[in-house]
């Protein structure tokens, strides 16, 4: 099954999941952030990553070319979707990089089926949504309040119509009342067996840098990289090359 670009789709968990594969070698799973899509990785070091790995980059449910009849999204469901994608591709164990929602998804995957993830890089992920994040989520403009540039940017990523984009903005605000989906504790994270690199900007408006340290203390085989002056997802554009180099080096070890 193919659909636009060089991607394919697979039916799983009640949705049509779109994913792209680039390159050869060991699989490396790339999970984009909320309101993003697989194409984002082109701006976060994909050209370097593809030289060493076979990249597997899905559009999460409700994003890009993937469907989501339910309209609502939880990170746990994204984890089940991604595990099903790995099942479909016959991938027993792989390395992964996840950005924000993608990183949160990896936390679920690495605790549901610890053996599946050999090593992972978590960029601006979180154990739970702190108050400062909820205030930002609550202040998310609704679809009608979004400027035309925002709509254009979203339409470049999300190809299933304005309804899809509206649902994403609704979910963005709805996260302010989400308590059970992201509710990891240090004991629950201690089950993670994957080598984990935690990447954080020291001035991420959503998550205080203390969250990175809490995850670093909880995840047994983890390392921490705090990007000076970095915000949420400090890995794009000028930062991409440095990020890709550090990620590849970390994933290579062991």
């Amino acid at each position: 099954m193919s659909a636009g670009n060089d991607g394919q789709t697979v039916q799983l968990n009640g949705i049509e999941l779109y994913y792209e594969e680039h390159g050869q070698g060991e699989p490396l799973l790339l999970l984009h952030g909320f309101t993003g899509c697989a194409g984002d990785w082109a701006h976060a070091g994909r050209d370097q990553l593809v030289r060493e790995y076979r990249l597997v980059a899905p559009d999460a449910r409700g994003h890009g070319r993937s469907t989501n009849p339910e309209r609502s999204i939880t990170h746990r469901q994204c984890a089940l979707d991604t595990l099903a994608l790995l099942d479909h591709l016959g991938i027993g164990r792989c390395k992964a990089i996840g950005m924000s929602m993608g990183g949160n998804t990896l936390l679920h995957m690495a605790t549901l089926q610890p053996e599946r993830i050999e090593a992972m890089v978590l960029v601006s992920a979180t154990m739970y949504f702190p108050e400062q994040a909820r205030r930002i989520m609550a202040a998310s403009p609704m679809a009608e309040e979004q400027p035309p540039e925002a709509w254009e940017a979203m339409r470049r990523c999300h190809r299933r119509g304005d309804e899809q984009i509206q649902a994403l903005w609704e979910q963005q605000r709805a996260f302010k009342d989400s308590y059970d989906d992201m509710s990891f504790t240090p004991p629950s994270l201690s089950r993670i067996t994957a080598r984990t690199l935690i990447v954080y900007g020291d001035r991420d408006p959503l998550y205080p840098v203390e969250m990175a340290v809490e995850m670093y203390r909880a995840i047994p085989r983890s390392a921490l990289w705090v990007v000076p002056g970095g915000g949420h997802g400090p890995i794009f554009l000028e930062a991409a090359e440095g990020f890709a180099r550090a990620a590849l080096e970390f994933l290579r070890e062991g």
Partner: protein, 326 residues
């Protein structure tokens, strides 16, 4: 003087060999004892903390995890002939259910179908395979269906090999008998009295010449203890109790009435004949579950994965999305 046993005369389907003529080891070899033996501790409110014996095959990264759940009278040993072919596509996790095989028994009264089904989810959590796919045989298939109905996110897909689903006369009678005071102790004693012959008599294959003393021990030894024989009686009295099974069927009927499909991908695999579990269970289930495929297996029993493992693997692997990758 005994009539000479006709040598090299093929057995009729389901024709049982006398116990005295069982070979020491099965005529068809298998890698069950080469799988890795492990123990996990499961914790649940009703069953408490249990030490669970399970086997693992092809651990290191060769494919997605796949859970195999055996049925009544058997143990993880039941899956011995599909370990190798399934292991080419999946990492296999094969537990002995509580009170079966080498696993610790749960307290009496904790063997309700809902409880054991939930326990399967506990086992997944204990070994880190939540959300994986599963194959269940007979009672194991029934339990996995219940788990999927209770918590669809627990299993990504399910193959049900010849499970009971509809209370029938025999089950109702058995349930009634076991409710009588002392009946359970009696049932346990009967099993315990001559466990090897009990196991031999109460497991029915299409190809009975697959049996062996080795198998009689695998299935009979757990019954030789008070703990194991009581657990067996509990499964009979509580897990496949016709009352709860009736509720299960009514739930499926209600869902069908609302136009709901089974919440996860489901494949039904049934043998055309079986002395214990009526093949009509398969047709009746399919009628309640629109869109669910039913594959019939010829020349087999409700232990289709023992009698005809190749045909089962051939049906199951494409359904579960198995694909070997280098």
């Amino acid at each position: 003087m005994r009539e000479p046993h006709p040598v090299a005369q093929p057995l009729r389907p389901f024709q049982r060999l006398p116990f005295a003529e069982l070979p020491a080891t099965p005529r068809r070899p298998h890698p069950y004892f080469q799988t890795e033996a492990r123990e996990a501790t499961t914790r649940s409110a009703r069953l408490g903390e249990l030490r669970i014996h399970y086997r693992v095959h092809r651990e290191a990264g060769s494919g997605p995890p796949l859970l195999l759940i055996h049925g009544l009278m058997t143990t993880s040993y039941s899956w011995r002939y599909v370990i190798e072919p399934l292991g080419r596509h999946f990492r296999l996790y094969i537990p002995d259910l509580p009170g079966c095989g080498r696993s610790q028994a749960a307290p009496e009264g904790a063997y309700g179908a809902a409880e054991i089904a939930a326990w399967i989810g506990e086992f997944q959590r204990a070994v880190g395979i939540e959300g994986c796919a599963a194959i269940g045989n007979s009672m194991g298939g029934y339990l996995c269906m219940r788990l999927a109905l209770d918590r669809p996110e627990a299993l990504s897909g399910l193959v049900n090999i010849h499970s009971p689903a509809f209370p029938d006369a025999r089950l109702s009678l058995l349930g009634g008998v076991l409710r009588a005071p002392g009946a359970r102790r009696l049932a346990a004693w009967l099993a315990r009295r001559d466990p090897l012959r009990w196991a031999h008599r109460n497991v029915h294959y299409y190809h009975e010449d697959l049996k062996s003393i080795e198998e009689a021990h695998e299935y009979g030894d757990p019954l030789a203890t008070e703990e194991g024989s009581r657990a067996f009686a509990s499964y009979l009295a509580e897990t496949i109790a016709p009352g709860a099974m009736g509720d299960f069927v009514r739930d499926l009927e209600a869902r069908k009435g609302r136009g709901e499909r089974f919440p996860i991908p489901l494949l039904l695999v049934y043998a055309r004949e079986d002395p214990l579990v009526a093949p009509s269970n398969g047709e009746r289930l399919q009628a309640l579950l629109p869109g669910t495929e039913l594959r019939w297996i010829e020349e087999s029993s409700h232990f289709a994965h023992v009698d005809t493992p190749e045909r089962v693997v051939e049906a199951v692997v494409p359904f579960l999305g198995g694909r070997s990758r280098p």
